[in-house]
Symmetry: C2
Amino acid sequence: MIRDLITTKCLYSETIIPYYPVMQKTARKSQPIARPPGRPREFDMDTALDRAVRVFSERGYHATSIGDLTTAMRLATGSVYKAFRDKHAVFLAAFERYVALRQEQTRSAAAKGANGRERLRNMLLSYVAHSQGSEGRRGCLVVGSAVELSAVDPVVAALVSARLETNEGFIAGLIREGQADGSIPRHVAADDTARLMICITQGLRVVGKARLSLDGKRLVAVAMKLLA
Amino acid sequence: MIRDLITTKCLYSETIIPYYPVMQKTARKSQPIARPPGRPREFDMDTALDRAVRVFSERGYHATSIGDLTTAMRLATGSVYKAFRDKHAVFLAAFERYVALRQEQTRSAAAKGANGRERLRNMLLSYVAHSQGSEGRRGCLVVGSAVELSAVDPVVAALVSARLETNEGFIAGLIREGQADGSIPRHVAADDTARLMICITQGLRVVGKARLSLDGKRLVAVAMKLLA
DNA sequence: AACTATAGGAAACACTTGTTCCCTAATATG
DNA sequence: CATATTAGGGAACAAGTGTTTCCTATAGTT
């Protein structure tokens, strides 16, 4: 019965030591502008979006307020709403910016390999690297969107699926390249292995957020057994 | 320059067809109670928490309002705050409830195997199964917490890490069991393989949320190559 | 049987949120 | 040079948030 468990002394909460909101709102009030007002700022929208990406990645969509965005992007509220229809539109723009950047990074990391097998190894190593340290702690916007929004936001859900499928296709392509150049055995099931590797890469970002240490060399060495 | 990109016509938003909030708030107003007030309800706190788990898993912490919780748990606002200090405390209780349940499911799935190798296969198959369908769409509360809260909430971050490490230890144990009973070769690096498998399991939940189809048999067959 | 304590409910509260509105000053145009 | 336009800012707004408070009717006690 519920009244057996509910007590006036708040039974379920005695284990909680600190209270929830920890960081955030250090300088919510926008600092006084030093330049003459009306004078256009000296940065482009991409840098502003990069800053938005940082906030969205770290806190997620719902925990990021317009105030957080304006201070991060160094724009006033009105300016944000002149550039974007609403918060959701800012998020989508940030998402696309993030995806473009990450795709470039991943592809160029892979490109350094001599054959298909090496390109795959490089890609995995790059993923581990990005899942660690401060970037790892900040998190991946694709993973964050998948987890936080896919169930409730069909637009984001579609973007996320599309992104995962693109990545999976890229990996499957690398496997086939490796099979063509002889660095990966023919009997490896390209599509299944690619899907599992997508799981690995996304899982790396989750584990990286939990601050577990990730030894790239060793983890990738194990993962490469999937290509045996 | 920012003014090159900012237009009064809202440049960045023309691709967005539907507007954001899609589901939620179908019956926010609590339905009139049919029973005499003051009469204790006929369910225990665990079922109420299970309902909370569903909401938190699906929408995440920040997107779940107290209103969502009260309708889901079928409790009035005051009752929730009599049982828990605040929303955060409800979340922690739901988290622990979820973890206990999932742990039981995973262990009992693994236990059906005859040797270490089979127990590992069963565990992986169970993870794939739980990452699919409606449960997959709802999502894993551990993954969700890791992604949404680990960076800003030290309490949740600690719970998540602890959970991942427990799981990893369990997997490493299964590997060692397999090595002892001869079903897994001695040269397999138990700890590294376990950490990679944690990535796979967490990644499965991410991919499952994105509604990509997951063929358990085939995916696990590929993953088992890690034990070669 | 009268009384006390309290489980459970719902309205009120203070605050934050996303969004809009309007002002100002610099640029571009004629 | 005078005028129209608009980038950018920030105050004001309404709706939603988490939380508190108080009420009521039951359950347990003497």
